[in-house]
């Protein structure tokens, strides 16, 4: 379908793979074909269960034991990876192809110094002597932009930060200058600013080494940034493929279109826009589907789609979609049926939650780590406060103090005019009115209880509904409010999908008609299309019940969509707080600015990123003066190092902690943005 350079670096032809499970073969990849040109970065995107990791593993022939290749070839130059002998493969892996995994912490050997781990690759593949190999390893470390490489080489993996570990993985993968680099979600476990650094590194290394890259990711924004061409996988089939910008600008498969519309784009607000969601669910693994795999969920599907599988229809010479009616795709209206016309809950003046001078220390004496170092937060009735920060910022500790799972070391928490500082002495009323939705629904629901009994228990304890009959009616209302069906009540959580589990968890927290719910990354474990449905549900519930949320997320687009006010945390302190639009527009705290610029977006006119220096300092030994001064891109000098910055009030009710005055900061930040647009077009 696409005319890539005459000879591609890698050519996958009709790859079909099944997994054997309980004596049955379940097909996970069906006739997947694509090519990666020399020096090209090819992105493979799709939601969980679509088979993207299987493709990556098949390329390296690292498939698990229960995988069966039913057909196809993986041509690597003139050789087929699938039929190569084990000894040939061993030489190829590392020499001609290398892989970087999602979790660098487990991919590195914890008991060998990182320098030696990289040197090993040189000794095995390039037959270098011990000292030569180590010298080459140190040089490679500096290539992947690790500062003080000779010192880092002597460290063990656990002494490095996540970003540094991933750089070491890249150094190992690139040590032999492979023809193909397979990256399997290489930035998924990393914070936004670190992720941005790693992606910069990928781009830079690609220019330097001219390596072909297969980039597997669930994040469309990242793929759009890094890759030239993109393939979209759905239920084991490659359903669309084309140049990245074109595919994301004008998708020609209904699934790609729907996926793109599910993502909250920066600038979308819950008051005006509703997120699209995809009806139905992924077909079960191994299902025999006669026609198009997406027909059941497709708004333009007809009889023909259910009868025969569509071939890849060319849109143009580089772009194709597996859809009979791809020409109609641009005209599909947004699937936002059923907006509940509930007026936005009015944010009242009354303060619901007031946190003052909150300190949470772990450990004691000189070893004490201040996870939360003096935070003041308030939330009004009916308001959504977004809490943003990277790992180690203290946002989860703050949340746990607020709901009463842990006791703060210092400071006070007042909720509905009750003193709830000590979590354990909270009365039922306080517990009922202040609940929490956890990050990982797999963990938050007891696997040995049925959904019904989980919800009944919450009704009994929180709402005080003890009689069976009354429980039945309340349970029905509760289930309907989160759009679960009665049949879901009889099953255990393990037989529900991630989205359904999160609905159960949400229902549980709403059992006692709370006035405030803490949402700790409620959608970060979910796929994009499911995330959209859950966000819509949370927004509906918030409006209908008039509750307040403290909404914790690392995803700025999500926070901007749901939050009325946003607080940005760095190293245990709030550095920037105000109404969301004010926080998102200049002036913002330099850290907020860096966070914002780190988000990979689908926009073409991506701005140059603000790079943070160094790594996150340890909370046990925070920097003096302004805690951000060691990494601040707008560092002024000694004043930042020695004096704690004052709160500066800016327009629109926003305040931030910085030595730079609002006018000056705004001038700097708007100037930079304008300068980039005029003088530095995207290369």
């Amino acid at each position: 379908m696409s005319v890539v350079a005459e000879q591609a670096a890698v050519r996958i032809e009709g790859l079909t793979v099944s997994y054997r499970r309980r004596r049955k073969l379940l097909r996970v990849l069906n006739d997947v074909s694509f090519e990666i040109g020399h020096g090209e970065a090819y992105g493979l995107v799709g939601e969980s269960g679509c088979g993207k990791t299987t493709v990556a593993m098949a390329l390296m022939r690292y498939l698990p034991d229960n995988a069966v290749v039913d057909g196809g070839r993986i041509m690597f130059g003139d050789d087929d990876v699938l039929t190569a002998s084990e000894s040939t493969l061993r030489r190829w892996r590392g020499d001609r192809m290398a892989m970087v995994y999602q979790d660098p912490g487990t991919a590195l050997n914890p008991s060998i110094k990182v320098g030696e781990q990289i040197a090993e690759v040189y000794r095995f593949h390039k037959h270098l002597g011990k000292s030569d190999a180590l010298a080459a390893a140190i040089e490679m470390l500096s290539t992947v932009q690790i500062s003080a490489p000779d010192r880092v080489a002597r460290r063990y993996p656990h002494e490095l930060s996540g970003g540094q570990q991933q750089r070491v993985m890249f150094a190992m993968a690139l040590a032999t200058d492979p023809d193909l680099l397979v990256l399997d979600e290489p930035t998924t476990g990393l914070d936004a600013t670190v992720e941005a650094e790693v992606l910069d590194l990928v781009e830079q290394l690609r220019a330097q080494f001219n390596t072909s890259i297969l980039f597997v990711s669930h994040n469309l924004g990242i793929v759009a940034r890094v890759c030239e061409r993109v393939g979209v996988l759905y239920a084991g089939r490659l359903i669309e493929q084309g140049p990245a910008q074109e595919l994301f600008q004008s998708p020609r498969h209904p699934y790609t279109l729907a996926l793109l519309r599910c993502m909250p784009r920066l600038g979308m607000r819950k008051d005006t826009d509703r997120l699209d969601s995809i009806a139905g669910s992924l077909p079960p693994l191994g299902a025999e589907i006669a026609g198009c795999v997406y027909a059941d969920r497709c708004p333009i599907a007809r009889d023909r789609c259910r009868a025969e599988p569509p071939p890849i229809e060319p849109v143009n010479e580089r772009h194709g979609a597996r859809c009979f009616y791809h020409e109609e795709v641009p005209g599909i209206p947004p699937q936002v049926q059923g907006i509940e016309q509930v007026p936005a809950a009015a944010v009242e003046q009354e303060m619901l939650l007031e946190v003052q001078e909150l300190v949470k220390a772990y450990g004691s004496g000189t070893n004490a780590v201040l996870a939360v170092a003096g935070v003041d937060v308030h939330v009004a009735r009916g308001e959504v406060l977004g809490l943003v920060g990277e790992s180690g910022s203290g946002k989860t500790s703050l949340a746990k103090c607020i709901v009463g799972l842990i006791d703060p070391t210092n400071g006070t928490i007042e909720f509905e005019h009750m003193d709830v500082t000590k979590g354990r002495s909270r009365g039922r009323e306080a517990r009922r009115r202040l609940q929490m939705v956890f990050q990982n629904p797999d963990n938050a629901l007891n696997p040995s209880h049925t959904v019904g009994s989980i919800l009944r228990r919450s009704l009994a304890l929180l709402a005080g509904v003890r009689s069976k009959g009354q429980q039945d009616t309340e349970l029905e209302t509760l289930t309907r409010s989160v759009r679960l069906e009665p049949r879901h009540l009889d099953v255990r959580p393990s037989s529900l999908s991630g989205g359904l589990k999160q609905r159960v968890a949400i229902a549980r927290s709403f059992a006692g008609k709370p006035s405030m719910v803490l949402c700790d990354e409620p959608t970060s474990a979910l796929d994009v299309s499911v995330q959209a449905a859950i966000l819509n549900l949370l927004v509906d519930l918030q409006r209908r019940e008039g509750v307040s949320y403290v909404f914790i997320s690392h995803d700025l687009a999500v926070v901007r969509y749901v939050a009325d006010r946003i607080a940005v945390m760095y190293l245990g302190q709030i550095v920037d707080v105000g109404p969301s639009e004010a926080v998102f527009s200049p002036p913002h705290h330099p850290y907020t600015e860096a966070l914002l610029s780190a988000i990979p977006t689908l926009d073409i006119e991506a701005k140059a990123r603000i790079k943070l220096r160094g790594t996150l300092p340890s909370p046990s030994d925070p920097p003096s003066g302004c805690r951000f001064h060691t990494r601040c891109p707008r560092y002024l000098g000694d004043i930042c190092k020695n004096e704690e910055p004052p709160w500066q009030d800016s327009t629109g009710g926003q305040s931030y902690r910085c030595h730079i005055a609002p006018d000056e900061l705004e001038r700097l930040q708007t100037q930079d943005a304008a300068g980039e647009q005029a003088g530095d077009p995207v290369a």
């Binding site: 009806a279 517990r431 929490m436 938050a444 099953v491 999908s497 991630g498 359904l500 549980r508 449905a533």
Partner: protein
Amino acid sequence: MSTVEQSDLAGIPGGTAPEDVARLRRARRAELLRGLLHSKTFMIGAAMVAVWVISALFWRWITPYDPQAVDPINTLKAPSGSHWFGTDNLGRDVFSRVIAGAAPVLTVAPLATALGLLGGITLGLITGYYRGWVDDVFSRLVDALLTFPLIILAVLVLASLGRSPRNVILVIGIIFTPLIARTVRSAVLIEREREYVAAAQLRGERGPRIMVFEILPNITGPITVEGTIRLGYAIFAAATLAFLGLGIQDPSPDWGLQVANARAYVQIAWWMAIFPALALSTLVVGVNLVADGIRRVLEE
């Protein structure tokens, strides 16, 4: 409204009707059972254990002779058609005594294990869930206990309490308690960090209820494995104590006791020692194979 926002409402794989849901729940249990039935380790072990369980229950009908009947004419006879495993120094039929000997072992060992499990689970839940000083004190006590050779401890206690099957059960059970508690505690430590425990605390559940209704059902796997392994040890411990003369007394047909009696005759009547010893080892090996099989199926 039911058609709206269905994004993931059809999340149950393989079908949506209510009967399918019930079927799925049964399927999980059936799958575990099928896993066990397909595990060679488990099946061989179970067969070995089954032989001795049947012997323990029905020895009255199986044994060709009364296991306690003395026959002064036929002492120390080698295995033959009439006495398959030969006879002992008092002319008692060794085969009958081996078969009947399963009964005391399979009474003492399971009861002792059950006692140890009861104590161990309780202690393990409390120390693992509450942590703090209770946990510290308990852990040091266990460390101290483990520096003793356990058999000497048992001998000391039995010598002072008196020798009886009941006391053997008590001693083994009490010695097992801290050992089982350690395993349970480490399982609880993992489980209590999971968010469903936090969610239960948030809705105001009390500690004991969280331990028993929230955590315990999720650690039955490690407890089952631990219990089965301990059962093997208990069988061995009971036999050892009987061998030392601290458990059941003669003329009861106990394996440990039989081996002890046979010691004096080993050079002239090997059959007196070898058959009860083989019986003991097949039972212990069988129990351990069962434990291995269960652990592997649970891990899958």
